[in-house]
Amino acid sequence: MNIFSGETEVLAPLATGWFLENAWLIPVIPAIAFALIILIGKRLPMKGSELGVLSMFGSLVLSAGAGYQWIQRTNSATEEQFVAPVIKSWNWWQSGGFEFGIGQHIDGLSVLVLFVVAFISTLVQVYSLEYLRGDRRYTHFFAALTLFSGGMLAMVLADNTILFLLGWEIMGLCSFMLIGHWWEEDANSRAALKAFFTVRTGDMGLLVGISMLYFAANDWTQENLGLSGFSIRGISAWALSGEPNSTVIMIAAIALFIACIGKSGQFPLHTWLPDAMAGPTPVSSLLHSSTMVVAGVFLVARLYPVFYVGLDIPGGGGNLIVIIGGITIVISAALAFVQNDIKRVLAYSTVSQLGYMMLGLGAGAWLPAVFHIFTHAFFKACLFLGAGSISHSASHHSFDMKKDMGGLRKVMPITFVTWIVSTLALCGVFPFSGFFSKDEIIDNVGYNGYNTFMIIGLVGAFMTAAYMTRATYLTFFGEPRGASAGHADHGDAHASHDAHDNHDSHDAHSASTPHESGLLITVPLMILAVLALSSGFLNATPFGESWERMKLWVEPRPAEVIEETHSGGPGESLIINLPSSEEGAAKTVCGSAQPESGVCYAPKLKHAPFKWSKAMISMVIVFLGIAISWILSTLLFTKRDPRLVGLTQRVKVLGFGHKLLVNKYYLDDFYEKVIVRTVAYPISRAAYWFNQNILDGILHGFANNTRKISEWVYKNVDQRVVDGTVNNSATFTKSVGTAAQPSQSGKVSQYGALLFSAAAVAALVLVIINT
């Protein structure tokens, strides 16, 4: 590390280490494991699953090491010093003047997400060992799961948008494979296709955005930083340099955000996420907590300067991201109320929480939103794995809360406790992790001048608390129903209402009584629950500055830096010069105006000071949500209160609302019936008409004429000219052959003599010509 010694003080060199320098190994391990599982997985004793688990564990160790060394790095810097990311890039391929790099961009954000992804993936793989035991495509499942995580890891540490796109698309493909894992059922393969195509719709935006950014930024980045226009670092600096045309960067930001809408399940492309529940539960857990859906949020957080400048985030009031985020929070939370499938409730809850993250990013609350990715991953993974545990061991692979669950708290104590902890975290109750992140988002959204959206956030918090209480009540309280009461699906008559009758059978497929799941399932649940409880304390703003570790470690410090490129090692490695500590030199806060010298990689963001009064308001709202929902659930589901039962049939307005929700706002119908019909059907009909009348007409006419012409040609040209020529030449050849036959004696010496005499003649000719 070079040190730029300023006028007044010398800044300390930043600490680095092996794990930071070699972080690119993290996605390489699962990629190799994927290939190995595909090639030799079936021959291994555990059908390839051990390779998947081991590779994820390897990635976890490496990312934990990288995280530790990154913390050391930030600690070695002074308070305001820019902590340079550890960037390495190699030239991948070149084509017509375009250079595509491959490399790593390790900073606080990527280290954080790398760790979360590797951690959740490891637990999910361990869980899958038990959950998918005996599955017919066990090996392929682990292969796809490993590649899925590998794609996310590659995307997270990508140093340029091309590699980012690669990881993004790998995830799209793997999610298709995993959601459609049981493709024999029509619904599953339809869900997989729906997920794939909906996300593809958004992906167009990513391609457009990346190319726009390249062409807009390349000149500037080449000139000032020596980086290509694909480099994430270059794009960030360019966006904040004051150079870009505001229309161009706005359109690029919108295009990129469309990709995020598709990937992160934002309104109006959220419809694929609940259907993605068709996949095995571990997949839902991974997909919804840390891997697939976070990618969109991560994209916004990663290229934040582009969105910051392009959509005028500091302006306040409202912009595309907060509007979409706000709509998503409320509409998906409302949808969660009418779901009977426990996984669908969680799916809509994920959509809603992603809305929070987007809302936070859109309103300039970068750190709370990123922190919410972190905490949300743990409790959401725990909730999904809990749902899987219930269906695996208690409800005969059913996810229907109303038919097959209820009263499970005594039977499945571990699942119950972990579920409750995660639910409280999701609702944002005080000491649980969700409180510290979600409340910070809501708080900062208001602080940054987005008051309307702060209220939407609070409404969302109320709804979250309410629907999660409903789901918890239906699942764990009340009377056992259906399969969880011992009624097997196939009408088995030994209905034992005694839920304690747990004969500890590990064969969940034949046991008809519900029981607690095995250790491979409960241990990941417990680990996640502990983290759901404790991970919030990494950035516990209520307890003052010293608790805000995440802010210290993850948030980029937007000091100006002066860059220099150095060539060395196996590729171009960047060496960052630390900022001059020039006093008073146009310290226009990075992002608001063009800095005089050097470049800036992150906008300076404001942080709302924590106030207990504001936190109390949201706590009260959450508790109200829980209480109201609890009372209504008790009345409705257990006591069957006549005033509530059938309310939707009696009151027209409520009935209308209910119908709207049950039909998911008719969005699916809208897409399939309106858009597909209006777009695809007329096109196909027009194409058919065109085919029948015009193309066929042309073809028929053409064919008739061709036939007539060809008859004439056959008689005159073919028979006389062509055949005549062929016959004549054949006769000629034959006579020549007969004449030359004697020379073909079969004697090698004779051939040699002919060859050499010919060569001699040729040499003679050559000599004569040249003289």
Binding site: Q741, Q744, S745, G746, V748, S749, G752, A753, F756
Partner: protein
């Protein structure tokens, strides 16, 4: 440098080789004659390489030596197989290629 002497030697070798190929009845001897031809070419190449002071000719000659070795290997293998099948290696008896 007496270029002529080298060229003369090469020409003589070449002629001997050509005579061998045409006149000899024995397949092995014919192969040896082919070697003579190749080596006369090598001498030519080296001569001109020395005269022009360029390494191209040397490189080429080395290549030819390598290729010639391979060629002789294949040729002797053919002769061996022919002998096994026909019990003779006289070229006059091998006239299956007659048209």
């Amino acid at each position: 440098m007496f270029v002529n002497q080298f060229l003369f030697l090469a020409a003589v070798l070449f002629c001997i080789g050509v005579y061998g190929v045409i006149a000899r009845k024995n397949a092995v001897l014919m192969l040896m004659s082919i070697e003579l031809i190749l080596n006369s070419v090598n001498i030519n190449l080296l001569t001109f390489a020395l005269r022009n002071g360029s390494p191209d000719g040397h490189t080429f000659a080395l290549y030819i030596i390598a290729v010639a070795a391979a060629e002789v290997g294949v040729g002797l293998g053919l002769v061996l197989l022919v002998y096994r099948n026909k019990k003779t290696i006289s070229l006059d008896d091998l006239s299956e290629m007659r048209g």
